[in-house]
Symmetry: C2
Subunit: 239 residues, 2 copies
Amino acid sequence: MERTFRNSNFEGAYFKCEVGSGKSEKVSDFRLPISDFRLPISDFQTMPRTKQFNEEEVLRKAMELFWKQGYHATSIQNLVDQLGINRASLYDTFGGKDALFEKAFEKYVRDYSAQVIAQLSRHESVRRALEAFFLSEARAAARDKDHKGCFVVNTTTEFVPNSEEWAQRITRQRKAMEHLFLQYLQRAVEQGEIPPGKDLPALAAYLFTFYNGLKVVSKANDSEEELCRVVQVALSVLD
Amino acid sequence: MERTFRNSNFEGAYFKCEVGSGKSEKVSDFRLPISDFRLPISDFQTMPRTKQFNEEEVLRKAMELFWKQGYHATSIQNLVDQLGINRASLYDTFGGKDALFEKAFEKYVRDYSAQVIAQLSRHESVRRALEAFFLSEARAAARDKDHKGCFVVNTTTEFVPNSEEWAQRITRQRKAMEHLFLQYLQRAVEQGEIPPGKDLPALAAYLFTFYNGLKVVSKANDSEEELCRVVQVALSVLD
DNA sequence: GTGATATTGGAATGAATATTCCAAATAAAA
DNA sequence: TTTTATTTGGAATATTCATTCCAATATCAC
């Protein structure tokens, strides 16, 4: 507790820009002090040793490991080995296994949401955008030699129904993604790509359901061709 | 090892008919000895104490627990508490955690396959049969207060890609279910329900993929109505 | 009832688990 | 260089894990 917060006075006091592999070797570390910053409590006069690793990069590694193995099958030792940082650093920086998993999950959602939106907004035609999105997901899944699937989907099956907290988190994710699909479908109707009068919320929920299925099945089927044909069938509901 | 097989000479020698809760209280136990049965090796003269629990019933409980919680989140202590049998009995009867999980998985596949086939063969019309099947799955999922989903789907996300052995098992399951769907689709073409010339294997793979998605999504969405509408959208590819 | 033997409950074991702790090393500023 | 606060490596801790063991119990054949 005590050690965890010993630095809390200085949160946000510096813009850090760190570069390096983070594998406990020296890294560059530029700090741009905010000139008019006043120390609120402490009376110290020197700055201590800085972190030897890039926090974002380490978090990315943790994300990949939890993504691939899930929460229960990933041990702290596992993380220490893979992340290349010390046990104590892990606890000091991220708080513990639960907190680290949450941060990894949030990073995935953050990164992945941006990617989905970017992918979908590449085409004017909604039909083409959805096709491009699902085909790219199918291809990426088939090519991922780790067969990680989707972090959110994996977490759904691992934590629901055994954690009410995670069930709510997952539900929020579902609604966000269904809402995103819905917006595109509404635009499709406006653009005359989809005949009006269709049950768009059900269609959006369907797209989300199919997405989940694709992410599960692609873990155990790496045939790019088969997955792409399935996508084409799935999207034929839009015709 | 030694204790595990001490009774192996008598496997199948009796038709057992046991009744009882199995919660370490006395149960009725009727044994109908097979009259012409000859002891192959042993020279014993008395029969030992019989099992105090119904093996099939205990296996069913183990299946439900693994189904709900997964492999890693279920401890032996957990099983001992839930199954109502002794630690030693568990190891003697089922071999260990891994072996018990496998047996539970196989029981699920056995029971569930029979149920799927029964469900599908209720209607002459393939379209109606598929609709009845998916709607019944949606309704059952929404009504399952444990939100267990599908044991096979859960196992897919938990063990793939971290176990090659399970990946193969899961792949076999996928192919079996796709094959089942394909047979029905072929019959649908013969019966004139589906226009000829469609890519039936892709359609079968699509149905399987959607099934997986439904089983994931229904864990965190218990709205029967929403799930059923999604099913209707999904099956519109057949029109 | 008696003898033989498997089951049973619970303790014992040893490995793995998450987390905490501390001395030594180190970076930044004076 | 000295001072200071932090990171770091690895040991220490306490819990939980899967599994084994054994004495006591209970059942079946006689």
